[in-house]
Symmetry: C2
Subunit: 208 residues, 2 copies
């Protein structure tokens, strides 16, 4: 599939582009700046310029699936949490609908399905993610929502725990998150589903 990766230049996004290449997909990395292009060109991945705060229509032509992996990151204010994490995601969902891209995989965050229970400092972020996830659920697309635990830069293990709900707020490597998301793209049983994701024993390649 030709897969638009929104937030491709992020830490998880870069892994997603690599995993898409490895598994025979055709990633299209949406990046904000031209100086982010060579990184992807060097690995033979297509790029498209797009900024979630502006028009992104140009990114949606000839696309089979969208992976939303953008985030405003820890170094910006909560205004960007609204504009990127919430509204950027909602805009991407609306554009997928508009351009007839049926398949949409959302990188969410653990506890985004129950933000009111989160600690104060992270609660606004989880509400923003929650609104984006809820918007996707009601959009009429073939969606999958993935809510990973605390992200690490550890090397991927190829094994995870992927369940509708896990009780412990565990960790997981960004590489395993990316591999799981790419796997879920082509798993019919993952459509219209939301999952928590932490490290574990289940082989990603066996996810059905």
């Amino acid at each position: 599939m030709r897969v638009l990766v929104i937030g491709a230049n992020g830490k998880v996004g870069k892994h997603i582009v690599s995993k898409l290449k490895e598994t025979g997909h055709e990633p299209v990395a949406m990046v904000r700046d031209t100086d982010q292009v060579p990184f992807f060109e060097e690995q033979g991945a297509a790029t498209v310029l797009g900024n979630l705060e502006n028009e992104i229509d140009q990114a949606f032509y000839n696309i089979d699936a969208v992976i939303f992996a953008a985030g405003s990151g820890p170094d910006t204010g909560a205004d960007k949490t609204i504009l990127i994490d919430q509204e950027g995601a909602i805009k991407a969902v609306e554009k997928a609908k508009q351009f007839g891209v049926q398949r949409f995989v959302m990188l969410s965050s653990m506890a985004a399905d129950r933000p009111e229970s989160a600690p104060t400092g992270i609660r606004h972020y989880l509400f923003a993610k929650h609104r984006a996830d809820e918007h996707l659920k009601q959009a009429g697309l073939n969606y999958t929502i993935v809510r990973p635990g605390a992200l690490t830069n550890d090397e991927g293990t190829g094994r995870v725990t992927l369940k509708e709900h896990v009780n412990n707020f565990g960790e997981i490597s960004r590489e395993d998150v990316a591999a799981t998301i790419v796997r879920l793209l082509t798993v019919p049983g993952a459509e219209q589903k939301s999952y928590d994701l932490v490290s574990g024993d289940q082989a990603i390649e066996d996810i059905r």
Copy 2:
């Protein structure tokens, strides 16, 4: 009507409570702290303690209508924009549904129906208000959304411009906003409607 005023201790909220009293309604001022109670008791208005970031169920018993006039204000971060302006409003809508309070008037903001066109510094705020307004529209309540222009502390004139859309981003006094909102509570033609509101020539008491 017995009207719950959420954000009663704000500048517009205080006017709303007064106007409700003047027009024969029975306001219930939701306030966060006990030291905000005497201000309302002195004018014979009921109060209920409630914080939008916590449980607010206790405020919804025996209520006929809700006016949402809360805002996180200019002195807090955008995290509070999410938690109060957006999520507080959404929570109030959900509680109105849960407790069978059919009538809901939302104090929104001009341009909350088109946040993408707003200047950068205010855009995140308008997106938050937009999401709250959209949530209300789809909640199945008898709603009215009021989007005033720039708020002033001028004395009320009793006259406004209330239209689905006004082209200029005008001003309006908080007192006239409050009087208009209270008027709209009992105007059947205002149900399922959204309005821009600026100063003007239309007598508030003639709004039908």
